[in-house]
Symmetry: C2
Subunit: 304 residues, 2 copies
């Protein structure tokens, strides 16, 4: 499995030129998780290599328009293109009503099942998991209920030892059973313990945490500890710290301070105020505290 | 007064490349009337010379997403930019609820008054008028309640005769009263009738009609008779007439047939199906019936 993060939009409250507001897609093999969906996000997908019909799950952090106004148009397009695969949407309860009233207004009956999963923003929860990945929420501190998300690969299954394979030539069924933890029993009824015929995978599971929008808060650290990539909003620079706090946003320095305290591998900043024509000062400010910082830009793709 | 039509978007159901769905702005001096507002419309305004704070009134034809999904983002941006001037929105009743629930979800209290005017789609109505312009609805025939709009300049006020001005040198107040139809009374109490001191203006008031979306219907003709510019949807070509009718849309030939029957000066077609990479065939088909046809394209500005 591999995870890649596509940046579709990393502006803040209003679109500015080519910069749209928050929209990210996390690619897991041939499937996309959409994380926030600002106005215009669907228009940026094709050019960014994102096949919209491959979006399986959508995660909406909160109901400020710059994080979800593009969702209704995306759903509408998926419908018009004849999608039949279900889609799962995770977000605040009111989002379901907002979708429903607009579908009703257009007399639209979606061509695909829409499964809505309500998020309680004030509570850390496991909201999805399968054999390969788990997804948890992060309670953030913002002017309305807001959740971040952590995407964590699960540890790979153990490898079968080469000696064992050569000697017993196990069937595919047995390989799967052994990888799932079973002991092996040969044709003569002899039992080999799982431990003696396998070795733990050396693969290090990857993880990505998404924290937007939030004021500086150390309460997020336990949820994002040691992640491979942390996206943390950096709406302002440190010289506008007071305004950042009033608006319940963070500065570039604060994002870097959180990254350092949480011992993450890399920090991605974004959600820039429209006042910053150049991202260089924001990036420099963050790098002074946490050198492994990247400034998000539309079209960027990051291996996690 | 002068009227100019700006084409912001003229695609149909889904955005395709640079072509967004329906969004037009009618410029009246230093003021804009926005007609439909698809997703992404606000992003196209600056490049098209439209100052969004100069939008005074918004007219939404119906609640299919390709005609209004950009409105909530526009209102949100106007708010964030600190607008204080009121805005007037004309549209189906449910639009108000759709705006309200999204403002509530974001805990947003708009910085400007929003005056909502409910349109009854099945009824021709005068929905706005001032000294210079009147705006009426056109009942259209589509899969959900849909209105077109006719924007008509009012006749210019009469001119004061040169002889009269030279002889009496009337005050500004008297000029306005005479233009409004009053007779003139000089200092000695002599009365000069309005008719003898004025001449009718030779200016021909301009008019623009907007018909999107609709199946071919001659019922619109009385409302659009003789307009200077008619925008009529042309989603399909004539060889897809059956599909057009099933979906309650019109073909390029049908748009031209309506233009001819209504004796309009020029026809503007748009709302093209995404299948048409080139507009040439649609334009040729319409021009075969009504030569003064123009194919709408994003960025186009037409003097009315």
């Amino acid at each position: 499995m591999s995870l890649k993060l596509h940046v579709l939009g990393c502006g803040s409250a209003t679109p500015v030129g080519q910069r749209i507001s928050s929209a990210f897609a996390l690619r897991k093999e041939n499937e996309f998780f959409l994380i926030d969906c600002s106005e215009g996000a669907q228009m940026h997908m094709k050019a960014n290599g994102i096949r919209m019909q491959k979006i399986s799950r959508v995660f909406i952090s909160h109901l400020h328009g710059d994080h979800y106004f593009g969702l209704i148009g995306l759903l509408s397009s998926l419908h018009l293109f004849g999608r039949t695969e279900p889609i799962h949407i995770y977000g605040p309860n009111l989002l379901k009503k907002i979708i429903d009233i607009q579908m009703k207004a257009g007399n639209t009956h979606l061509s695909f099942p829409l499964h809505f999963h309500k998020i309680k923003a004030n509570k850390h929860s496991l909201i999805y998991h399968d054999d390969e990945i788990s997804i948890e929420t992060i309670p953030l501190v913002h002017s309305i209920p807001t959740s971040g998300f952590v995407f964590k690969e699960k540890p790979h299954k153990p490898n079968l030892n080469k000696d064992f394979i050569e000697k017993y030539d196990p069937s595919v069924e047995w390989i799967l059973r052994i990888k799932a933890g079973e002991d092996f029993v040969d044709e003569d009824g002899n039992c080999l313990s799982n431990q003696e015929i396998t070795s733990p995978s050396t693969y290090k599971p990857k993880s990505f945490a998404y924290c937007s929008d939030t004021v500086y808060t150390e309460s997020v650290i336990p949820y994002i500890k040691n992640v491979d990539l942390l996206y943390h909003e950096a709406t302002f620079m440190e010289n506008m710290k007071n305004i950042a706090h009033d608006k319940l946003h963070a500065t570039a320095s604060e994002a870097a301070t959180i990254a350092k305290a949480a011992n993450v591998k890399r920090l991605l900043i974004g959600h820039y105020s429209a006042r910053y024509a150049s991202l260089e000062p924001l990036l420099n400010e963050a790098r002074a505290i946490f050198p492994h910082t990247i400034a998000a830009e539309e079209g960027m793709v990051l291996d996690i």
